[in-house]
């Protein structure tokens, strides 16, 4: 948002917003444009990691059989992912994946939430690097689990050869190969990235659009106000998308693991 702030302060509302609005100048060194080690985006990732670690360690420092409010809250997050995602999707064997799924869910949810938290206002997941990392981990995880469970040959046989008549297999096997081993990590990463990217873009369009109309013609002020009201409404929509995408990412990962563990196709 530094970019916008500078632009707005200079009195020239750059409209429409561009991809460059997602690449803010670096914090250290201050204002550099080609340095990506310490930017607002990476700082938010570290903040998310720090907040989650501190929250969980603090609320689970001294666990009791009868939980305190904080402990209960931390437990309900874990219990939700454990029972409603891991166990529901995978069955009892899913319990051992629950810690990773919960970490994943919390990380995605919090980094997504930065999109609508004041002063953060952009989600790190609108940079494809972070969804890509998580998608690659999911991809490696489900393939590793499948190979470990069935052995290399049987796993690929299970995954690639659906129970279908032999004459249709030449068509099905390439489709399975493509969808399971090539498309999955991309779809996982792009789904999250595109949702957060589009959400930020929408908010930018309506916020900057209001300023643009106001500076173009004072008579457009009511439309500017409407535009900002839309921004607020879209923030609520964004909230829905944030929670939904965090859930979807975790559920899909669980579903892939379940597919890798399953005996049949």
């Amino acid at each position: 948002m530094f970019g916008q702030a500078n632009v707005l302060a200079a009195g020239q509302a750059a409209f429409p917003p561009t991809v460059e609005d997602f690449y803010l100048p670096s914090i250290l060194p201050w204002g550099a444009h080609e340095s990506y080690w310490f930017t607002k985006i990476t700082a938010m990732v570290w903040i998310a990691v720090g907040v989650l670690i501190i929250f969980f360690l603090a609320s689970y420092r001294n666990p009791q059989l009868v939980p305190t409010k904080k402990q209960w809250f931390a437990e309900s997050i874990y219990g939700f992912v454990r029972n409603n995602i891991a166990v529901d999707m995978i069955g009892h064997a899913g319990v051992r994946f629950a810690p990773y799924f919960t970490t994943l869910f919390c990380f995605v949810l919090l980094t997504n939430s930065f999109a609508i938290i004041p002063f953060f206002q952009i989600s790190p997941n609108s940079h494809i690097a972070f969804p890509a990392i998580l998608a690659i981990i999911s991809y490696v995880l489900f393939n590793y689990i499948g190979i470990k469970q069935h052995g290399f040959v049987k796993y690929f046989k299970n995954s690639l050869i659906p129970p279908a008549p032999w004459y249709i297999l030449p068509l099905l096997i390439p489709i399975e190969l493509f969808s399971t081993f090539i498309v999955r990590p991309f779809s996982l990463a792009v789904r999250l990235f595109a949702n957060m990217f589009a959400g930020h873009m929408l908010l930018l369009v309506f916020t900057l659009g209001g300023f643009a109309m106001l500076s173009a013609n004072a008579w457009l002020a009511p439309v500017s106000v409407l535009s900002w009201v839309m921004t607020i409404a879209l923030t609520f929509l964004e909230f829905l998308v944030i929670v939904l995408q965090a859930y979807v990412f975790t559920v899909l990962t669980a579903s892939y693991v379940q597919g890798a563990l399953a005996e049949e196709h």
Partner: protein, 179 residues
């Protein structure tokens, strides 16, 4: 997009190409998060859940054990009570039997005693009778002789003859009496 970016910014970015610096930072950050949460937090939560389940199931088990013990004790008390009742009945029966026995004993002893007393009385009576008979015999003899001598008026000089007469008479009396 590319066109707009090229127009508006000093450097151009393609949003679908990840920045390798961000991949490094993201990987490290997420690895740290995974390490801490998956090592120190969630396993402990799993333990707590397990402990909670154990506590509840343990409570139920303890209650069941206590219930079973109570039932067992109740059965034991009932058995003991029944045993005590049979014991009491047996003791009563024994006592009754003993009392009956004692009564019989006492009765038998009393009967024996009375029999003995009666027998002793009879013996005494018989002995007294015998004494009296003996005395009477001599007296009756003397009286009879006196009477006879008075009636007959003659002295019976012959001792031996006199004696035989009296004895004969008395024997005759006895035999008639006995008959």
């Amino acid at each position: 997009m590319y066109f707009l970016a090229a127009e508006g910014g000093e450097s151009t970015h393609n949003p679908i190409i990840p920045l390798w610096q961000e991949i490094v930072v993201g990987s490290v950050a997420f690895a740290v998060l995974c390490f801490v949460l998956m090592k120190f937090v969630f396993p402990r939560m799993e333990q707590t859940f397990q402990a909670r389940v154990d506590a509840i199931e343990g409570g139920i088990k303890r209650a069941e054990a206590a219930q079973a013990e109570a039932n067992q004790l109740l059965e034991q008390y009932r058995a003991q009570l029944a045993e005590a009742r049979t014991d009491a009945a047996k003791i009563r029966d024994d006592a009754r039997a003993d009392a009956e026995g004692i009564r019989q004993d006492v009765l038998a002893k009393a009967r024996e005693e009375s029999d003995r007393i009666i027998a002793a009385g009879k013996d005494q009576l018989a002995a007294e009778r015998a004494t009296i008979v003996r005395e009477l015999r001599s007296e009756v003899g003397a009286i009879a002789v006196d009477l006879a001598s008075k009636i007959v008026g003659e002295s019976l000089a012959d001792e031996a003859r006199r004696k035989g007469t009296v004895d004969r008479f008395l024997s005759g009396l006895e035999s008639t009496g006995a008959r």
